[in-house]
């Protein structure tokens, strides 16, 4: 196709958006809502993942050992722990170190420690970093089977909540994305169907004078793409505002941040490029395809 013809068809597509502005607006709204729902759930998902990752990084499983454990046994337990599949790192934390750090943190109560003298009430421990926090239950069961274990401390409950949240989120998000893509396609193809129907005579004449299908479809493609592009831009702005205000609210919640860590919340500035690209290409693509699909029925003359 020559450039002038191409330009003409694109011009037709642009004109059509205006000529069918009611329909275009309907498509735009549907796409906007779909994009927002999908986009916000994806962002939520990434944040939950990032928070879980942050906790994985920060939280450790502490394995306290019986006081009567010999040095040789300590060593053996250390090797066994380090060899476990889900253990990234196992470091020894002696009761002397623990005692010192306890003393440091309670400097005002030095009297208390004086009364203890050299008698150290603490026990030796191993600090473990796990690879996958989702498998923490299995790891703990495995550790419990070892001998000389006094107790195990792990960030159980919170992790469990997050893991459940992540699982639920994965399903819900998958369902939302799928449903929204289908709904958008159906509604857009229906709105386009109306505009195709309104122009069926024109299309029929085009077919009779030997227009190729691509020629007939290009304006519809452009029309859908423009609508989708505009919906993508609007979704971007709305997401940006909503996201930043949510992050702002969270930043004031000191208690929450002390658990999840500030770094775990993704800042919009760090992802705006990906979000922009995803919204605009997603919107334009769904718009264009939805639009072209509906021309198929009328094009076969």
């Amino acid at each position: 196709m020559k450039f002038s013809g191409f330009k003409y068809l694109i011009g037709q597509g642009v004109d059509n958006v205006w000529k069918n502005r009611m329909m275009a607006f309907a498509s735009y709204c549907v796409l906007l809502v779909s994009l927002l729902l999908v986009g916000l759930s994806v962002l939520l998902y990434y944040n939950v993942n990032s928070i879980i990752g942050g906790i994985e990084e920060k939280n450790e499983v502490i394995v306290y050992l019986n006081d009567d454990t010999t040095d040789a046994q300590l060593e053996e337990i250390g090797t066994l722990l380090a060899e476990m599949e889900n253990v990234a790192e196992a470091s020894f934390y002696s009761k002397e170190d623990a005692f010192l750090s306890l003393k440091d943190s309670m400097a005002e109560y030095e009297v208390l420690f004086e009364s203890l003298g050299d008698d150290n009430p603490l026990v030796d421990a191993y600090r473990l970093r796990v690879k996958d926090i989702a498998l923490i239950d299995e790891t703990i069961t495995e550790i419990e089977k070892l001998e000389h274990i006094y107790s195990i401390r792990a960030p159980y409950d919170f992790v469990n909540i997050l893991i459940q949240l992540r699982t639920i989120l994965t399903w819900v998000m998958g369902a939302i994305i799928l449903a929204m893509i289908i709904v958008s396609m159906v509604i857009i193809s229906n709105t386009t169907k109306a505009s195709v129907y309104a122009r069926r005579e024109e299309i029929q004449i085009m077919k009779y004078v030997g227009a190729t299908n691509a020629f007939i479809r290009l304006p519809f493609f452009v029309e859908g793409m423009i609508t989708g592009f505009l919906a993508g831009c609007s979704a971007l702005v709305i997401t940006w505002l909503v996201y930043d205000s949510i992050v702002g609210i969270l930043q004031d919640q000191v208690a929450l941040l002390s658990i999840i860590g500030m770094g775990s919340i993704i800042q919009f500035s760090a992802i705006y490029l990906e979000v922009t690209l995803a919204y605009i290409t997603g919107g334009a693509l769904v718009g264009a395809i939805g639009s072209v699909v509906s021309t198929r029925r009328h094009i076969d003359v």
């Binding site: 085009m206 004078v209 227009a211 020629f215």
Partner: protein, 227 residues
């Protein structure tokens, strides 16, 4: 050139629309196709445009064997045919000029050519003064002349006119047929479907009568205006 060889068409509903029809229209011919409605005239047109396929037999149009023509090649075939509808089928949102230029855009003609060609065909049908009018502002006869200009603009080898005088005043019908005759004299093959026997008798020429899916008459007769 249009050639039908032992062509039969049976619709899915079981109706036999054409029954073993053979017909040859040579380049440069002018032929009237007559017959009552439901006789198979429309089926024949649809066959020539490859809107439908023959159940049996072969159809050749302007060198294309239609039974072997791939779907994506249909536009190529149709660009060699001009079509005039009974109900004009002009696009109401476009002016006379745009309605005609539109056809050339479809076949991706250069803009320079469009700017030269469109005014020329408008002058051939005598509508220079109406080039910027919209279809609603034209009379039936004028609309049909626009439709003829549109059929003519990409210089097709064959023009099919399906009851082109059906929706216009009888006195203007003669004008339309004369216009088609004039185009035919320049070398374009014309196939005009009509049921207006007065018109056919007046102009004469080759008459093909289709009745109940069969050709019952195919001869050249002298027109009344030649007597």
């Amino acid at each position: 050139m249009v050639e039908l060889k032992n062509v039969s068409v049976t619709y899915a509903s079981g109706v036999d629309a054409l029954n073993n029809v053979s017909l040859k229209i040579n380049d440069g011919d002018f032929a009237f196709v007559v017959g009552s409605s439901g006789a198979g005239k429309s089926t024949m047109i649809k066959l020539i445009l490859k809107e439908i396929d023959a159940t049996s037999g072969t159809v050749t149009v302007n060198g294309y064997n239609l039974s072997k023509l791939k779907k994506r090649k249909i536009p190529e075939l149709r660009r060699t045919i001009g079509f005039v509808f009974q109900d004009f089928r002009l696009i109401p949102s476009m002016t006379v000029y745009e309605n005609i230029a539109f056809v050339l855009r479809v076949i991706d003609a250069p803009r320079k050519y469009i700017r030269k060609r469109v005014p020329y065909v408008i002058s051939l049908v005598g509508l220079q003064a109406k080039a910027n009018s919209y279809p609603d502002e034209l009379s039936g006869g004028e609309k049909q002349r626009v439709a003829i200009a549109r059929a003519l603009v990409n210089d097709p080898k064959l023009i099919i006119a399906d009851e082109p005088t059906g929706n216009i005043d009888p006195e203007l019908s003669y004008e339309i047929v004369e216009l088609l005759k004039g185009i035919n004299e320049c070398g374009t093959t014309i196939l005009m479907v009509t049921h207006e026997h007065d018109l056919v008798r007046h102009f004469g020429g080759r008459i093909i009568n289709i009745t109940q899916g069969e050709i019952v008459f195919d001869e050249v007769i002298g027109g009344a205006n030649e007597i």
